[in-house]
Symmetry: C2
DNA sequence: CGAAGCCTAGACAGATCTGTCTGCTATTGT
DNA sequence: ACAATAGCAGACAGATCTGTCTAGGCTTCG
């Protein structure tokens, strides 16, 4: 086989991967602006030159961090929904997955909103956030249609609000209780939207 | 009258007030961590020494900024609800007021959440945020009880999620549309909670 | 008139942040 | 064996941030 095709993804854990993991923990826990480069290379056990050779700038590291969060959220939700059978259960299942996430130790709300709150208006954060939100909204539209909603777009808009509100509530109240509440609300609204 | 009793609240606008106004605009628009002291004294047209003589530290200025936001939100909601007659309209009216706020140019979501997102875990921001959230939740409990909800606490928990979700959605999607959606949801949930 | 407060302008100290650069070591493919 | 690659360690530059301090101006009241 061509050895070149493996490079960079083999070996223990490349500097790039360790940097991404360290950035993920620190940026999410303390904020992208608060955490400095030095803390990240320290935790990753990597030289500063390696960071700049791999990412070029802190901004690009932030973008990679959010990109990774985006993919992780997609994977977490999609794989979490596989266990459900009926369309209705799958739609409500998004809130079951969210409940698990919100109960995770160290949960600090939505990484995209958090990063957005400390970034200037037209920054790199905005693009990825938009992308992530568009995906989630699209998922809800699909699930709403499958579940027989008369107006899937309208129901999806409602579910996005529930998702966002749960995320905020769980973070600010330091309790995952909001997720269960939101699931109940989603069930009520789904009933009203299919009747 | 005792002249001393007027001092500090009279005159054009004291350095303290101008500082608070400048901090309010800049902190809300760009974030408490991003905006430096120099930008604030610049906009306020005030000497740096005056800031430190009035507030003692940037942290204390942040606290005063959030305290002011808290009082402004209370006043805005309470006065906005006066125009409604029935308990049901008053409850839903919270989302009418929120719709107006979210449509304001320069709306950037919840000042408390934004500040919290860029502050360490146990900071001064947390206390004021908790205080603000407790007040809002209490208001919703009252309104829910007046509107005849069978379980006012439960309905209030739902309404808080709607409020938070609207705030996030309006900011991240750069559109106040979520507020109208949330009002519809609130009506549906209120009907379900009084039936 | 003259003292007391409040304010301004700006230099300064000390810390911290991003990003660059120089040397050195270990591994890997040919 | 040899060259290329990737990574490490850390000094360094330049900017920026919080907070302190000096020196002086303007108003107000006794």
């Amino acid at each position: 086989m061509s050895a070149a095709s493996l490079r960079g993804s083999t070996r223990k854990a490349s500097a790039r991967d360790r940097l991404l993991s360290a950035a993920d923990e620190l940026f999410y826990a303390e904020g992208v602006h608060t955490v400095g480069i030095d803390r990240i290379i320290d935790r990753a056990g990597v030289a500063k030159a390696s960071l700049y050779s791999a990412f070029g700038s802190k901004d690009e590291l932030v973008r990679a961090y959010l990109q990774r969060r985006h993919e992780a959220r997609q994977a977490r939700i999609l794989s979490g929904l596989e266990r459900f059978e009926t369309p209705r259960d799958r739609l409500l299942g998004v809130f079951d997955v969210l409940a698990e996430t919100a109960a995770t130790p160290g949960f600090r709300g939505c990484a995209f909103y958090n990063a957005s709150a400390e970034s200037p208006a037209g920054s790199v954060v905005e693009q990825i956030s938009d992308h992530n939100r568009a995906w989630l909204r699209g998922l809800f539209v699909e699930l709403a249609r499958d579940a027989g909603a008369k107006d899937p777009e309208a129901l999806a808009a409602q579910l996005v609000i529930l998702y966002d509100g749960t995320s905020v509530g769980a973070r600010m109240d330091r309790s995952p209780a909001a997720a269960a509440t939101a699931r109940t609300m989603a069930a009520t609204l789904l009933d009203a939207a299919t009747a």
